[in-house]
């Protein structure tokens, strides 16, 4: 099973599962811990992966949201994420995928231009978030946002679905592209 599909498993009652994909374990671990510290009505599960496809031997719940973490300081992290994208079924890209770029605060260490990740997110029609995961307060705020997004994607928020959220987020994205 080399491609992640969004609807191939039944959801668990009140459970929301997020998959964080990125090369640097330390960052993923910190983000996961911050997310679990949030108060949330749903039962959260965080899966961490360095690359896709995921090992098929494991029995895992349905994944509600995938976040691809790219470190702007490392071309290696971008390359690995790009390689993963082909292992994700297109149905995920209807609001259940998001890109997270970290490290933009330290401009001198950045070896990836911000436009590169912006273009990547635009190609995959998915939102792009910027956050310096190394900084505690920024990470906590981002964790809050991701938990809210996850709840929506898992269907735990009545009246709004993943696709709704995507179109809402896209509205704010499209104006800058017109200016360009």
């Amino acid at each position: 099973m080399s491609v992640l599909r969004s609807m191939d498993k039944l959801p668990d009652l009140n459970r929301a599962t997020i998959l964080l994909v990125g090369t640097e374990d330390a960052l993923l671990q910190k983000l996961a811990e911050s997310m679990l510290q949030e108060h949330c009505a749903s039962e959260l599960r965080v899966h961490l992966a360095n690359s896709l496809p995921l090992p098929s031997t494991v029995n895992r719940p349905r994944i509600d949201l995938i976040v691809f973490v790219i470190n702007l300081h490392s071309k290696y992290s971008l390359r690995k994420v790009e390689e993963c994208l082909s292992h994700v079924d297109s149905s995920f890209f209807l609001g259940k995928v998001c890109f997270l770029a970290t490290g933009a605060g330290r401009e001198s260490h950045c070896s990836i231009h911000q436009n590169t990740v912006i273009k990547l997110a635009r190609t995959y029609r998915s939102p792009l978030l910027f956050c310096d995961l190394e900084v505690g307060s920024f990470r906590a705020t981002m964790a809050q946002r991701l938990v809210r997004m996850l709840q929506i994607c898992a269907g735990h928020v009545p009246g709004i679905s993943a696709v709704n959220l995507l179109s809402l987020l896209r509205c704010s994205d499209s104006t800058p592209s017109k200016e360009l």
């Binding site: 374990d25 330390a26 996961a32 811990e33 599960r45 992966a49 360095n50 995921l54 090992p55 290696y76």
Partner: protein, 319 residues
């Protein structure tokens, strides 16, 4: 005393050249100072041997003592510290009238040399000395940087002649830590200490991850992490790495392209690039690259061969 032991000792003594006889018997440390003083070292070897055998009989020499004498004889390059120091100093002083040379013998296996350089017309500059640490039992000497590059060939010449070697070669290995240089050159870093870390199976906290901290966090790629950990251990070992600050790679290559012609392809001079890695502890940093998810494991052999090849300055050319 056993007949065989006596015979062996007699034959050993006959094999020793007369000029080294006194030094070897002293190094053997079996006969006492007084006894050594009574021996006439100018007589014929057969009689000398007989004298020594008689003394050995009085002291009841045994198999172990005989074996020890054999070992001392084998150590042919008996290093003469005084001669080394004398000849080293003379060579430098003959070339540069003004030079200060001082020696300190550190234990039995190292001699520290301090050289303050002057010229024919000026006094030695005591504030910019060069230090050399020479290990006589080995063909290695460690030299600190010389502020006057023109003195370096002279220093090499002096070391070469005083240590009775034919050639001196400069290694491409530099660091600020003498202990680390020694560890690499004498391969001392490979000795694993008595620790439980050497053959431990996958455990919590071993990979630097708090895996059981929260059961709601699941790591998907455990197998891959284990593989990376294993490959890293195989390449770098479980022991702490010697401390180096830099690794430098000079690359010379020609531009290759499918399209023939073009400015770069026609260029006769090779293209030159320099890549320098610097870190307070370079080898530990390289070792942590793959586990931290910054590079693939296994790393490039150019990075992992540093300690093995005893080099951290490389010149890479097209074959």
């Amino acid at each position: 005393m056993d007949e065989n032991v006596a015979e062996f000792i007699r034959r050993s003594i006959l094999k020793i050249p007369l000029c080294e006889m006194k030094t070897i018997l002293k190094a053997w440390n079996f006969l006492s100072e007084d006894q050594l003083q009574t021996i006439n070292f100018r007589q014929r070897k057969e009689f000398l041997a007989q004298e020594v055998i008689l003394m050995c009989e009085e002291k009841c020499a045994r198999l172990d003592d005989m074996a020890l004498l054999d070992i001392v004889c084998e150590d042919v390059d008996l290093f003469d510290m005084k001669w080394f120091q004398c000849s080293f100093k003379k060579i430098l002083q003959r070339a540069l009238r003004n030079v200060t040379v001082s020696f300190r013998v550190d234990g039995k296996n190292a001699v520290w040399i301090r050289i303050a350089w002057g010229t024919q017309y000026s006094q030695p500059n005591q504030y910019k000395p060069t230090f050399v640490v020479y290990y006589p039992q080995t063909p290695y000497a460690f030299i600190s940087s010389c502020h006057l590059k023109s003195n370096v060939p002279l220093l090499h010449q002096a070391l070469k002649v005083a240590s009775k070697h034919h050639q001196i070669v400069q290694m491409d290995l530099r660091s600020r830590h003498l202990d680390s240089l020694k560890a690499i050159v004498f391969r001392e870093y490979d000795q694993t200490f008595e620790s439980h870390n050497s053959t431990v199976p996958l455990q919590e906290g071993n990979l630097g991850l708090d895996m059981n901290l929260d059961s709601n966090i699941i790591h998907e790629n455990l197998e891959e992490k284990e593989r990376i950990h294993r490959v890293t251990q195989e390449t770098f070992g479980a022991h702490p790495q010697p401390q180096l600050e830099f690794a430098q790679y000079k690359l010379e290559t020609k531009f290759k392209s499918g399209i023939s012609g073009g400015i770069l392809a026609d260029r006769k001079e090779p293209l030159r690039c320099l890549i320098k890695f610097s870190s307070p502890h370079l080898l530990e940093a390289l070792k942590s690259l793959a586990p931290a998810g910054i590079a693939d494991a296994p790393l490039s052999p150019l990075l992992t061969c540093i300690a093995n090849k005893k080099m951290n300055y490389f010149k890479i050319r097209d074959k």
